[in-house]
Symmetry: D2
Subunit: 368 residues, 4 copies
Amino acid sequence: MASYWGKHIHISIFGQSHSTAIGVTIDGLPAGESIDLDALSFFLKRRAPGNSSFSTPRKEADFPEFLCGMVNDITCGAPLTAMIHNTNTRSQDYSKLKDCPRPAHADYTAHMKYRGYQDVAGGGHFSGRLTAPLCIAGGICLQILSRYGIEIGAHIASVGSVFDTPFSPLGETEDTFAQLKSSSFPVMDEKTGTDMKAVIETARNQGDSVGGVVECMAMGLPVGLGNPMFEGLESRLASMLFSIPAVKGVEFGAGFESATLFGSQNNDPFYLDGSTVRTRTNHSGGILGGISNGMPLLLRAAFKPTPSISKEQQSISLSQQKNIPLNIVGRHDPCIVPRAVPVVEAAVAIVLLDALLDRNTDQINKTN
Amino acid sequence: MASYWGKHIHISIFGQSHSTAIGVTIDGLPAGESIDLDALSFFLKRRAPGNSSFSTPRKEADFPEFLCGMVNDITCGAPLTAMIHNTNTRSQDYSKLKDCPRPAHADYTAHMKYRGYQDVAGGGHFSGRLTAPLCIAGGICLQILSRYGIEIGAHIASVGSVFDTPFSPLGETEDTFAQLKSSSFPVMDEKTGTDMKAVIETARNQGDSVGGVVECMAMGLPVGLGNPMFEGLESRLASMLFSIPAVKGVEFGAGFESATLFGSQNNDPFYLDGSTVRTRTNHSGGILGGISNGMPLLLRAAFKPTPSISKEQQSISLSQQKNIPLNIVGRHDPCIVPRAVPVVEAAVAIVLLDALLDRNTDQINKTN
Amino acid sequence: MASYWGKHIHISIFGQSHSTAIGVTIDGLPAGESIDLDALSFFLKRRAPGNSSFSTPRKEADFPEFLCGMVNDITCGAPLTAMIHNTNTRSQDYSKLKDCPRPAHADYTAHMKYRGYQDVAGGGHFSGRLTAPLCIAGGICLQILSRYGIEIGAHIASVGSVFDTPFSPLGETEDTFAQLKSSSFPVMDEKTGTDMKAVIETARNQGDSVGGVVECMAMGLPVGLGNPMFEGLESRLASMLFSIPAVKGVEFGAGFESATLFGSQNNDPFYLDGSTVRTRTNHSGGILGGISNGMPLLLRAAFKPTPSISKEQQSISLSQQKNIPLNIVGRHDPCIVPRAVPVVEAAVAIVLLDALLDRNTDQINKTN
Amino acid sequence: MASYWGKHIHISIFGQSHSTAIGVTIDGLPAGESIDLDALSFFLKRRAPGNSSFSTPRKEADFPEFLCGMVNDITCGAPLTAMIHNTNTRSQDYSKLKDCPRPAHADYTAHMKYRGYQDVAGGGHFSGRLTAPLCIAGGICLQILSRYGIEIGAHIASVGSVFDTPFSPLGETEDTFAQLKSSSFPVMDEKTGTDMKAVIETARNQGDSVGGVVECMAMGLPVGLGNPMFEGLESRLASMLFSIPAVKGVEFGAGFESATLFGSQNNDPFYLDGSTVRTRTNHSGGILGGISNGMPLLLRAAFKPTPSISKEQQSISLSQQKNIPLNIVGRHDPCIVPRAVPVVEAAVAIVLLDALLDRNTDQINKTN
């Protein structure tokens, strides 16, 4: 088990889908940063279910309780812990679920790893609900980064085989980011959005689900975030992004496409824009040698379709040791991608704030 | 700087392209494991340059010197350090290179991060040459894993737009792995290999380079490797793979393709094969909830084209603060993908041995 | 800030003296361990204030709320979080305290580190109250260790200049440990205890405080816990013990006394007790080369006197930049040593459970 | 095994007493720091054996070879690796030693932990010789710290029952530090030094050894180094100091003595010295709440007597499972304390440089 992450911004996530509460402790936030709780609430609502017909109707408690780490909504240097109480917990009988692992879920691997002692209710600690505390941590980091000129935006890059207009690798405007953040279905091209919704509606009607891709960009990064080798920005970001349930692929800049290119196509030429060093293209996604180069950071994360579907599936009975069909009841997100957009923003924000603080250790700075 | 990685198998990589030596310290190898130095030598040669016309003709010293960590070629529990001396170091004048960063290299970001103090010769610590110590560590891990029934194989999945036959997600034979390991240009389909070589030859003749993808599979993994969230197998593997220079994308199982699928297509049905739980398809790539499920582990890493090309490129003079053209002299790999194949195997082996040891901590096992 | 610790048993402590709540998340507890909440409650009461006239009369809420990590009081593999609500928080005016740092407290260093944003109320995150979550974590570890044959006991070794009979380095009986655990003033020699209480009473009556030493022993340890160098048992234990507020010295076995001895006096001769290897003396405190040797683990931690005293002290006004006298009002523990006994036990238990799991990684153990 | 340490200054130590080489990789040194190799050589000679009649006559190769991490003796940001070749390695028959563990050495615990695969020659990885790479790392840190106004000094505080004049807790002069560093037997009071030498000579003549204490002080520290709880300065320093072979006790400021004091005696009153906040006494040793307060850092480490003595001792035969007498041949340091003085300085320097860099992460500092 390692539900903690980070060198400077150290987050420790706790909770199961149906435990008394879920939450996060963030250790290492600089003291003196005010947190706008209304803005945070707005951010968390973007991830919350039930915002539209495209997500599960389950209602989550709206807002976390802050247990410590702030004085008058200003960080005090001590670890900050936020908690969300779970309601209606553990009311069902989960013995069936325990015996018959759901395909593409963690039921079977958890059963083997924890020898039957895992919390099966609602997926336990593996539930997508645990992205809520990640969003609390990330939402706070987003506010702090913004204060230092770093803005993060994301959109639904694809649902199934419907692809949105991608971000311009050379950067997007603040207006574009603001518009995406205000939308419950953030896309660059509204027409595409309509097509995506149709695909999701079709999946829902067939008791099925569908996957998609989230594209994310960070602008205003200084040069020098990240390190060579194992703490390169790509390594850190990928490590965080693959922690989000259902992510099966991560790429930076031109990503997998760059593998099809010639060097003369893929290399980004340098030029001077006044005294600022920039590149004319941005196939690197703003990262060279694991280190930010001042151009926009660009990445994409691929989400598999929601594993929970109503269609009958084939599985096994662990107790009877035989193959059996499985019918999952209840309603589930036919596509988690819209709700995953703020989760990706949050994940990226945590990594970037950690990297921003890490850069401070490149030099000695002693003043008594 | 963080050129170290790992919780149980802790590797610390050192050296610059033209420093006296490069090498690696591996801390945490279990005592009592014999290391076959001939087999290791054979493995390292797969990465070494000059093996074929498809790589740079620079000759590397063939074999590392082992400084400590073994007694009679058997691990003794103490950290194992291996070193490769660099020859012909620092003979040139690198002042030009220092002033004019090469596109798609780390020259510029290193210059900014280390304020001009970085070692520019041959790319310094950012050089692809530093994958040699990674291969020493990984080659040792591969031997140990094999002893416990875990085999890792990889091939060139694509070069430019030429695609090899992919691995069967349900597993490959040991023969196939053995054949790939014995080849200087490991592909599943020889005809495809011929086409790939033609693409590389074209790139070379044009003073250009080309990218590609490496696909890697691990067979024989027990159920239960990895953890939920931040130490999930995908997070650990991606963190390691993105540490390899030029990797810009990583995906597991169906990866980005799974984002285009419906749940009913992507979910892998469980069934019993005797008393063994297996899945009928393997879109998950052998990982559910960050934890191995016993099916083959399958991943792909996308490599951008070698940044060093002979064609004239646009860059800047840092001292004169103006745009200037850049012509890189010397010969370089027109395609690093063939040599990257064992590097990916090595990277995966390190992570899996670390995860195998980590699984031991799931239970208390006290015997006096 | 780093209020987290551990490699396998990873604890993350949160809260300030007067925040909404304090607590701890424990990540890495093996699944399937039942937790006896009554026994835990009894253990926590040993640390709680107000148990006797020798501690501060402030009443703490008796028992933590468990937010997650257990199903039916059995660990489920997910992080376990326990929380204690603070009552009557933030009711006072702390502006005076903020301006005038208390001698021997962290007020001044916190003020400088957090630039005035620290939570001053009750000492904030530096409060001794934060040893309550440490005891929750440690109390759970103690239960698990006991199940595997490892018992930890501790007593008040000294208060001021009154010294209790030390533990026999070769081991104590379970009865002795049980008796110490049941006492609100745990000493080996009741007569000495009476003298200690008199010293504390004198300190209290003079508005003063007094320091002391806690001696702790762990029995039943297997050989092989710990590692050479930086993860030696002594290093890990000391790192944890010095995290307890007021600890200013730590020693193992003969400790500082061993510095006065000759080798022929200090070396512990080996002998065979049946097939068990033992030593005739135990100056090493059960640790050789950072690794447990199977003899009782023995250590002592020195606690400075409680910094809060009623007697007038000299301090400064930070705002007025001048020297001023300081009178601390309120009642405080005249001696924290009695309450520190279970805290030391808890600290030692966490480190030993971590080390017990770590030992599992010495060998590969693969079974599918 | 964990022979690595550190968050920002990450050291990884390798080698066994009789392996091909021993050494250290230091990852995280800021780029641009020039290293005075002559000064480093002088520092390493203070630890080297054979400097006087008070240490073992074995001659060590004088100076490390630097493999990487510097360009023209200036750090370049890449990991710095230094190596010392061992000469005359593995020439003897160590089978006897393997069978009969030496009292107070790590022979037995290593045998059990590594199941007989450990390198027994000369103590393997547990040898005091491994403090040489620690001194390389520390010697470099000392040079850098000095450049930023932080000076570290140490002396032999006691040998057996002979006690040197202690450091003044309020600070020593640079002259005093310089004098101590230039002496092969660093004491404050020469007369005491003569008495100590007599004790050592007596031990040697009797085939015995004797322990002692090293006292160390760091001056010029800024306020704010360290953190509350588990990364407090005391925790970090103790974790490092207990990694030095033979250390059995560590205390800060008044240490164990403070446990005998009343609060009114132990509390250090604050006062203003111009605009500088100071304390009138320094029982805290310069650390409050785990954080430096700007006063001199003061600590003591207790070293047990060298375990290797010529006098016959009692041990066991592991193969024959019986008690046998043991006679250790060869010459050994009758007292390691004089040579331990620079080792303690080195250890403290590494921790303090790490803490100095860590303090940079207390605030965000973004400049593009």
